[in-house]
Point group: C2
DNA sequence: GTACTATTCAACCAAATGGTTAACTCTAGC
DNA sequence: GCTAGAGTTAACCATTTGGTTGAATAGTAC
């Protein structure tokens, strides 16, 4: 069976279950940013954003690169693939009618 | 912007972040089942499964229908659509190369 | 109405989550 | 070495989570 490592899906879906984290992924999708740049738009503290980034990093959804005094954060979009594949299985049921 | 109601995505992704809940969705995808039938394969208590079902129901991922003494649980697969659409946005970045 | 079966609810518990502020570490520049 | 800036870690807190057991409810069958 296409296992997709259940634990991996756990961490991906958990990472995606928070709106701030989803927004962060959006933010860095087209342009890599520093941690400070990422944090700026949000009302929460920098420490809170740092924690969100750690969750995303643990799920392997982002990667960091030190560049001088900053860290550059970039999206690891390929990690989303198993999640989308998991969901794709259910497409065939989207239109199913239940006797209502 | 295709809002997809952030709160809706929260509840969907949260529901999917637990392996038991994902397994339950799999179980009922092709054949609707009663609560008892759903619970049987799992080692956790029936009450625990009942809680999982409540999470899935809150996310609108399942629906129940009372049939005599039983409740029939069926998948509401269409609810997954916004999640998959959210993920689809990132497909274009799957193959992006970061200067490594 | 009594009994049985199916399922939920209540009370409880330990661990995880998401936030805070304050202290710490790392790097660059002087 | 000292200082300033960028970011993480620590300690703390309230809430949520996922599990348990045991009592309660709902429907069927007698």
């Amino acid at each position: 069976m296409v296992n997709s490592s259940s634990a991996r899906l756990d961490s991906i879906f958990h990472a995606l279950s928070d709106p701030t984290r989803r927004a962060i992924l959006r933010d860095i999708a087209t342009k890599e940013k520093t941690v400070g740049e990422i944090a700026r738009p949000y009302r929460v503290s920098l420490a809170a954003v740092s924690k969100h980034l750690k969750v995303l990093e643990t799920a392997d959804l982002i990667a960091r690169e030190r560049r001088g005094n900053f860290q550059i954060v970039r999206l690891n979009a390929a990690t989303l693939k198993p999640a989308e594949q998991w969901l794709a299985y259910y497409e065939k049921f989207w239109d199913r009618r239940f006797d209502g």
